[in-house]
Symmetry: none
DNA sequence: TAGAGTTAATGGTATAGACCACTATACAAC
DNA sequence: GTTGTATAGTGGTCTATACCATTAACTCTA
């Protein structure tokens, strides 16, 4: 019996460090889960198994799993193993993001009016969130959101990705932004981080929303990530406090 | 030269495993931050420094710091060091946690003052949510929530379950509601449905929160379910808009 | 003085090994 | 059948070490 000169290098791990090994493994495992190869409740290969398969240290494999645990994709049970987690209930928060669907569920006719659509330089806080240089070009889309022709929110999106210039030619009064992104630009919104706070309506939005200056509004900021976990949108929205309620399911 | 029988045990770390070393160190560091010994922006001892001070491995010290980073208490900058983070009053909505745990994670001292604790008849909208008859008895608990003695929210809970009368004897200034429910009444909060809207502060809460009447606030209503999916609490909370932010992770 | 190189310290990654606590299973003893 | 017991596998913790990438301060040079 002759040993092979070197163990076969498993698909997907490249040791010539373009990216850390643990990160490559993490993304490999994420892919298995995302594509349904491994289903919720199923056993993930053990740390020792992974370390042997990919010829890496157990601690390195463990680091990959650690991050997946903290992201909620898998969970561990001591003595038993590591399992694929059930998709979170929070995942069903499409009501929070999808304005169009949200309104339809409430039996209202959603519509939009484009207030601004142009190329601008990214402000510092936006650039930081999108992981680009401050002042780099981004596409700014500002829309007034209505339900049954009643103004409900002003949403300002700043987008950055390859080919974003094409957006300037789109008709966002007719087509939803996410719909266009998915079908024409291969950008699929996969997850988002959103913050909600109470504020007073400012001068700029007061006219569009048809409320008095100083009226309470819901102010949300959202960073949206695509299927490869790249941030592509920074959205700043102001909702009328007297008309809008967010619904969240916690577990 | 004679070696001491055992190296001097640094204050706070006990190697006779009541708890993992990294956990003990983590709590030590959390204490330093919570008590203000280390202030936001200040440099935390480096990983190598910690490992020498406490005579532990660098990887162990690193694990303690890792968890503090993921809790948002500190942040790292490669080549510079690890720093104490600015406290953010951001409530994560991806998990179901009580106010007390939430504040503790942010290294703030949570406290409560009981404004009301009595038996009342359930109003119609509360009864509907708790699936009981309107007018049925419920325990009403109204608390002022503070962080570092600063008023943050007024929370009104109405509870209904077998043995709820016992709650009237509890000291909720000292003990958290969910803690008491879990340990004494076998009620474990399992999931919740929460709504968030912007509103103006009303007369009733204005005094307790120390804001002006009409100031923007976050108004949330929550129905909480126990381990058997029975609704046991209807909670109505008003958070100061100038101090509080909700954070949601969407996928 | 301005710039370029050096150096020391930091966090980031990775390895190899060790022991513990817990779980499930197989198998022997009752 | 039931009850222990041994065993192997799993995640949990910990050590010791090594090298890399980035930062900041210092030093030397033009």
């Amino acid at each position: 019996m002759v040993e092979p000169l070197s163990k076969p290098i498993m698909a997907g791990i490249d040791r010539q460090h373009p990216l850390p090994i643990y990160y490559q493994l993490k993304e490999l495992l994420r892919e298995k889960i995302a594509t349904g190869v491994w289903k919720p409740g199923e056993l993930v290969p053990s740390e020792r198994e992974l370390s042997e398969s990919y010829d890496i240290s157990r601690m390195t494999a463990r680091q990959a799993l650690n991050e997946l645990v903290s992201e909620g994709l898998v969970y561990r049970e001591q003595g038993r193993g590591t399992f694929v987690a059930e998709p979170k209930l929070v995942q069903r928060l499409s009501r929070l993001t999808g304005y169009t669907d949200d309104m339809r569920e409430r039996a209202l006719r959603p519509s939009s009016r484009v207030l601004r659509l142009e190329m601008v330089e990214a402000p510092l806080h936006v650039a930081a969130m999108l992981r680009i240089q401050a002042g780099a070009p981004v596409v700014l889309l500002e829309r007034l959101r209505l339900a049954d022709e009643i103004p409900m929110a002003v949403e300002t999106s700043q987008l950055h990705f390859n080919g974003m210039e094409g957006l300037l030619q789109e008709d966002f009064a007719r087509n939803s932004l996410y719909n266009v992104l998915t079908t024409k630009y291969d950008i699929t919104p996969a997850r988002a981080e959103q913050q909600i706070e109470a504020a007073r309506c400012d001068q700029h939005r007061q006219g569009a929303l048809q409320v008095e200056v100083g009226a309470p509004v819901l102010h949300t900021t959202r960073v949206t990530f695509d299927q490869r976990d790249r941030p592509f949108e920074y959205a700043d929205s102001v909702y009328r406090g007297d008309r809008y309620i967010f619904h969240v399911e916690l577990t």
